[in-house]
């Protein structure tokens, strides 16, 4: 009905326009009543030679009511859109562009044609959107708009300019970390840092920035670069592909980055991986990566390329976490609702990190939502958790809070008998605040506490806790130089007490405190050089053990191992140098200075004799603050990449590392009673170096990533222990440790599919790790001074992690892990002694436990994806250890009633179903 009315109207006016056409300027009459854009455009097109261009979705709410007689087209458009947010532009060829918010420039962007044109006639009404002057940096939200960077000039000057800025999530205002910005025509690219900040140097002129971020929709920005300037890129979350596995933010990074052996995983990927009891575990997932093996099923300890578990530096928002596990080691102590992503460095460890031999694992928390209050809650078999986040000052200050607690006592009944009559509890809390002072200054406060308490066989109580707080200040001096200054305090402590026997009632306490100061600078010298430099300093304060009476009747003699202090400092300088488009190198040096500080009494041993009580010559007492001894050594970090073609590169790296803090543990896993020891005149720092070589290839538009890496690694002064060494409350630990050498080598193969319904990765690793103790002064030789396999030497390791998405709401995940059994020391003879059979052990680690195999399966069900509902929920249902294989955690021989028998201990020996419910609000 309405249509016919409109059509008749048009016929009515047709006659009048026909008259108007006879003149040079076509005059149009029209009468619109609540006309839509389509009707409006169609009518005017029919009355003129103009063609209309517009995006219908932007105009769905537009209704035009207008009555005009005999006016030029431009006047009609003016009258229709005046005082609205809509703009029009008419080109000389009668093309009409109607836009919302911004006007289209109808002349060519300056610089598009590089021939200098002196005249710049302003024929069309063009808003100069770079005319922001002191206004904020433009938020670039649109793909097809042209953003001008720097002060506009009529001609593009030759040479380069630097563009810097932030990449943010449009919804929450959160920084997008590790987003890649790639400029196709110059083949250059950068990735955003932990604050979403980037700097790229480009030739002046027009560029298309291709932006890709983890879990974000790929986007691009059109820019004209006149001078140095800033740009904020806002990206949209990729809501439709909640379950798509993307292992790396930067799809081209696999091939193009200079680094080797670096993996970043987003929390979304981590959440897909089935775990025992369905508790998302940010540490378990790294065990699926090549070159990383597990210490054992019930521990979060992991070994990277033949390094022991204490050779990994685990950082949570920059804070060192000494015991990253809950509940004996069954779960990671990181709240999956707060964690944003993790990054593991196995080979190319940036200069700014140091102090550990094998790897750096960086766990980064999300920033709180800067725009709205939101949160989530989850219920699992073991823990309940909640997280709340939101703005304190909108767009400026936000907070994020997360907490978890457990009701896991029931689990203990499923454990081996030794854990019967036990109880356990734990919690962890995160609170992070970020604040943007202005364009150039940001501050970040993060705090974390985790606490565990358990009682074994209801007589001994164990508790341990990590605490950390840090403050970071990020300052941009210019678009090329920025700094991150941070200070923080980390503490790890444990306490064991028992009053089961009143006379022997005791309380044993250990703690380690470290105060950190870091000043990290990044300077983007030009498009070929990015320079990192800075200073790190850690002041350690270790209380190696106090043993005190507990209870009125206790006769325990208080015993204190003297506290230790040390200062570990490092100065570093690194340069990433793009020699050519195909060849890049990254070279750096980190100079470590370690001071062991008083007050302390140090024993002096006779040279070239075993460190035994009889060989102590005398001891020297040092006063407070006195530098007892200093170790100084440079770390070298080198890596290089050569692009063979767009999708294939070869990389090589070499690095050296030093470690000054040692975990004293003669069990294979990290146990809650292990002690840390600082290097001192009698215990040398551990050192290591690694050379690695890799071949990296992408295929099918970067959706398939392949890599092969080989490495060879040497370790020196790795600590091993004499037979029967006592590590706890030992006043002379140097008498019980022996220095060993290590060597590790291997080849790692990885195939990843990052997009599509089926995605995931397959890895295979062949690796060997050997140790050797041949120091005749050590007092005893292990295996006659020959090389022997380390506890975590597992030659073959295979992992498959896959996810198949049926629809946006349903997906299934499958995880398969296989590895050679770890080496063990088996008895070779038996005898009778003290009323029982006893065993005599072979050479160390001469045999192996049975191979390890496990498969896990889970189904992820998302609630509906309607945007406007109060809560979103999801379910995860699955089975851990699908085949129920009884993998050996350990094998051991023990006496019972006078007879020795062999046993195999399995931790998760049957299929374990789990269910997890999450709600987001």
């Amino acid at each position: 009905m309405r249509k016919t009315y409109l059509i008749s109207l048009c016929f009515l006016f047709f006659l009048q326009t026909a008259l108007a056409q006879q003149k040079n300027i076509k005059l149009i009459s029209c009468n619109f009543q609540q006309a839509t854009i389509a009707q409006f455009a169609a009518d005017l097109e029919s009355k003129s030679s103009a063609h209309f261009y517009y995006d219908p979705t932007q105009f769905d709410s537009l209704r035009v009511t207008l009555q005009i007689t005999e006016q030029p087209l431009e006047s009609i458009l003016y009258a229709a859109f005046k005082n609205t947010n809509y703009h029009y532009a008419i080109t000389s060829s009668q093309q009409v562009f109607i836009t919302k918010g911004r006007q289209i420039k109808t002349d060519l962007a300056p610089g598009f044609i590089t021939i200098a044109t002196a005249s710049n006639t302003q024929t069309s009404a063009v808003a100069d959107y770079t005319d922001d002057k002191d206004k904020n940096v433009p938020d670039a939200t649109t793909e097809n708009k042209l953003y001008e960077i720097g002060t506009r000039t009529n001609t593009i000057k030759p040479g380069n300019a630097t563009l810097s800025g932030y990449v943010r999530d449009i919804k929450s205002g959160e920084a997008v970390v590790g987003a890649s910005i790639y400029v196709a025509n110059t083949k250059t690219g950068v990735a955003t840092d932990q604050f979403g900040y980037f700097t790229i140097t480009l030739p002046r002129g027009r560029h298309t920035l291709n932006v890709r971020g983890l879990g974000m929709r790929d986007t691009r920005r059109q820019t004209v670069l006149y001078n140095d300037g800033k740009l904020i890129i806002e990206m949209q979350e990729q809501v439709n592909s909640l379950k798509e596995v993307k292992i790396s933010a930067d799809k081209v990074a696999n091939v193009r980055s200079v680094e080797l052996g670096v993996t970043r995983l987003d929390i979304k990927n981590i959440k897909q991986i089935p775990t025992a009891f369905g508790e998302t575990d940010v540490l378990k997932v790294i065990l699926t990566l090549p070159g990383v093996t597990s210490v054992g099923e019930a521990t979060t300890g992991f070994n990277v390329r033949g390094g022991s578990a204490d050779e990994n530096l685990i950082l949570l928002n920059g804070a060192t976490i000494y015991n990253p596990a809950h509940f004996f080691g069954f779960f990671a102590a990181f709240n999956p609702d707060i964690v944003k992503d993790i990054e593991l460095y196995k080979s190319s460890i940036p200069e700014k990190f140091g102090g550990r031999l094998s790897s750096v694992l960086e766990v980064t928390n999300r920033e709180g939502n800067k725009k709205i209050f939101t949160g989530s809650a989850g219920i699992g078999l073991l823990t309940s958790r909640i997280n709340v986040e939101g703005p304190i000052i909108k767009d400026k200050t936000s907070f994020i809070f997360g907490a978890r607690t457990t009701y896991s006592n029931w689990l203990l009944n499923l454990l081996p008998d030794a854990y019967k009559h036990s109880s356990a509890s734990f919690y962890d809390v995160n609170l992070d605040i970020s604040h943007q002072i202005n364009d150039k200054n940001n501050i970040y406060l993060s705090s974390y506490i985790s606490n565990d308490k358990f009682k074994l066989n209801s007589d001994t109580t164990y508790s341990y806790s990590n605490k950390s707080v840090s403050l970071k200040w990020k300052h941009n001096y210019s678009t090329k130089l920025f700094s991150l200054i941070s200070g923080g305090f980390d503490r790890y402590q444990y306490d064991i007490n028992s009053t089961a026997n009143p006379v022997n009632g005791y309380d044993l306490a250990f703690n380690i405190n470290q105060s950190n100061f870091k000043a990290d600078f990044t300077y983007y010298l030009n498009n070929k050089h990015t320079i990192d430099f800075g200073l790190n300093s850690i002041l350690y304060n270790i209380n190696p053990g106090t043993f005190e009476p507990l209870g009125a009747q206790s006769l325990v003699l208080p015993q204190v191992v003297a506290p230790e202090q040390a200062l570990e400092s490092a100065l570093y300088l690194g340069d990433k140098y793009d020699v050519s488009t195909n060849f890049s190198i990254s070279a750096g040096v980190r100079f470590n200075i370690y001071n062991y500080l008083g007050p302390q009494t140090v024993d002096n041993y006779a040279p070239n004799l075993p460190r035994e009580p009889g060989n102590v010559l005398d001891s020297t007492a040092f006063s407070k603050g006195h530098i007892i001894n200093t170790y100084a050594a440079p770390d070298i970090r080198l890596s290089a990449r050569y692009l063979l073609n767009d999708n294939l590169s070869v990389k090589a790296g070499y690095n050296t590392l030093h470690q000054y803090i040692h975990l004293l543990s003669n069990s294979t896993s990290i146990s809650p009673t292990d002690v840390y020891k600082l290097s001192d005149p009698n215990i040398k720092p551990e050192s290591g170096d690694q050379v690695s070589l890799g071949l990296f290839q992408n295929a099918k538009q970067n959706t398939i990533e392949m890599s092969v890496e080989v490495y060879y690694k040497r370790l020196r002064n790795y600590l091993d222990y004499k037979s029967g060494a006592v590590l706890l409350l030992n006043q002379h630990i140097e008498q019980d440790v022996i220095n060993t050498k290590g060597k590790a080598y291997g080849a790692e193969f990885l195939l990843k599919k990052t997009a599509g319904k089926l995605n995931g990765w397959i890895s295979y690793t062949y690796s060997r790790t050997f140790l050797k103790q041949d120091d005749p002064n050590a007092g005893e030789l292990i295996n006659e001074g020959n090389w022997y396999p380390a506890n975590y030497d597992k030659p073959h390791s295979f992992n498959f992690t896959g996810n198949y998405r049926f629809t946006h709401r349903y997906s299934v995940s499958l995880d398969v892990a296989y590895s050679t059994g770890r080496p063990i020391t088996l008895p070779i003879a038996k005898y009778e002694y003290a009323g029982s059979e006893r065993v005599f052990y072979s050479d160390r680690n001469a045999y192996r436990i049975p191979d390890y195999f496990r498969s896990d399966f889970s189904i992820n069900i998302e609630g509906n994806h309607r945007v406007h509902q109060k809560t979103h929920n999801s379910w995860t249902v699955g089975v851990y250890n699908l085949t129920g294989r009884q993998n050996a955690y350990s094998t051991f021989f023990t006496e019972q009633s006078g007879v020795i028998s062999g046993y195999k201990l399995s931790i998760f020996a049957s299929p374990i179903p789990f269910i997890n419910y999450n709600i987001r609000f």
């Binding site: 325990v556 015993q559 029967g724 003290a834 009323g835 931790i907």
Partner: protein, 358 residues
């Protein structure tokens, strides 16, 4: 979910068999007993492999020599040596294949008397009786202790058989043919150690020795324990702690790795030859205690270690109980059961130990 299963490793054969020396140089009036044996392969059926024909002597640092004589195969002894505690002693072993072994010189530890042996009723991990020892040493020189014990207990068979077959007919048992009450004994197989090194006073308070389950036959009538106490040097204590860790305390999640156990006995000509054992010298203290059923909770019920039932030919009469196996075919009117259920002498002895006090 977690589990502990028997495990048989691949057959491993050691390339040798090593000398094992066990015993203590008793510096007091009691006899010194040293046992010599050799290790056997882990898969071997036998575990005892005694070494006979060796010559053993205890030597002092003043060159005094006290010979030992072989009592039974591999067991060598000497009557009370009454050694001077101000000197150090060692053991010399000369085996038949002409190898010489020497232990390190060790001082004589004076073991303090045992103060008391008592018990607690415990409920964890299972309900039972935990027996403990209290001791102290006013002379603070020795702070490390080891205990060994022998247990003896009186128990009864499942059924009291009043009849027996004499080969042709069933006759009533004479009291000397009753097989209901017996004595059984055992000796400690776990290593029991304690130290007061971390305490202000040299006191050992309620150090657990063993736990007897409430269902054990050991506590169904009367139980006795003879406890022997040995004072140790710190070095000897380390040896025993390692031996215990390596052979008894494995199987937890945070196990220490098994390590070589270093004793103090060496082959004179080949110091690298492993020799298992540690020779200490000390006086020995002992104490015997009795625990009667009357002092234990009434609800405790012994679990008979065998499944027992009474069979009959269908015409059961009272008191007719005959143990099997028996060549006699049960006659009409008799009831019978397996001999393990009616004859306690299959598992113990009816000889009353000389020290027994009812």
């Amino acid at each position: 979910m977690g589990c502990k299963k028997p495990y048989n490793p691949p057959p491993v054969a050691g390339d040798g068999s090593y000398l094992v020396v066990e015993g203590v140089i008793n510096s007091g009036a009691d006899s010194t007993i040293i046992k010599l044996s050799r290790t056997v392969n882990i898969s071997s059926k036998i575990t005892t492999n005694p070494v006979s024909g060796a010559t053993l002597t205890v030597e002092s640092d003043q060159n005094a020599i006290y010979p030992l004589t072989e009592i039974t195969a591999g067991k060598y002894g000497a009557p009370g040596l009454n050694l001077d505690a101000s000197h150090q002693y060692r053991l010399r072993i000369k085996t038949l294949d002409d190898k010489q072994y020497l232990s390190d010189f060790v001082p004589v530890n004076i073991t303090p008397p045992i103060d008391s042996v008592g018990y607690n009723i415990v409920s964890v991990p299972d309900t039972g009786l935990q027996i403990y020892v209290n001791t102290h040493n006013s002379n603070s020189s020795t702070r490390y202790y080891r205990w060994e014990y022998s247990e003896t207990w009186r128990f009864h068979a499942a059924y009291f058989s009043l009849f027996i077959s004499n080969g042709s007919s069933i006759v009533e048992r004479q009291p000397n043919q009753w097989r209901f009450f017996c004595f059984a004994s055992d000796s400690s197989s776990d290593i029991v150690l304690a130290s007061s090194a971390k305490l202000q006073n040299n006191i050992i308070y309620q150090n657990p020795l063993t736990v007897i389950s409430s269902t054990s036959e050991k506590v169904e009538l009367q139980y006795s324990m003879l406890l022997r106490e040995y004072a140790l040097t710190p070095d000897a204590y380390t040896f025993w702690t390692n031996l215990k860790k390596n052979t008894e305390q494995l199987g937890s999640i945070f196990d220490a790795e098994p390590s070589q156990i270093k004793g103090n006995i060496h082959n004179v000509n080949n110091p690298n030859e492993p020799v298992i054992g540690y020779i200490s010298a000390c006086t020995v203290q002992s104490k015997r205690i009795f625990i009667s059923r009357n002092n234990l909770p009434d609800l405790w019920k012994p679990a008979y270690p065998y499944t027992c039932q009474i069979d009959s030919d269908g015409s059961q009469g009272p008191g007719f109980l005959i143990p099997q196996p028996n060549d006699f075919v049960p006659m009409s009117g008799s009831t019978y059961t397996s001999s393990i259920c009616a004859d306690c002498t299959l598992r113990g002895t009816q000889t009353v130990p000389p020290y027994w006090i009812y």
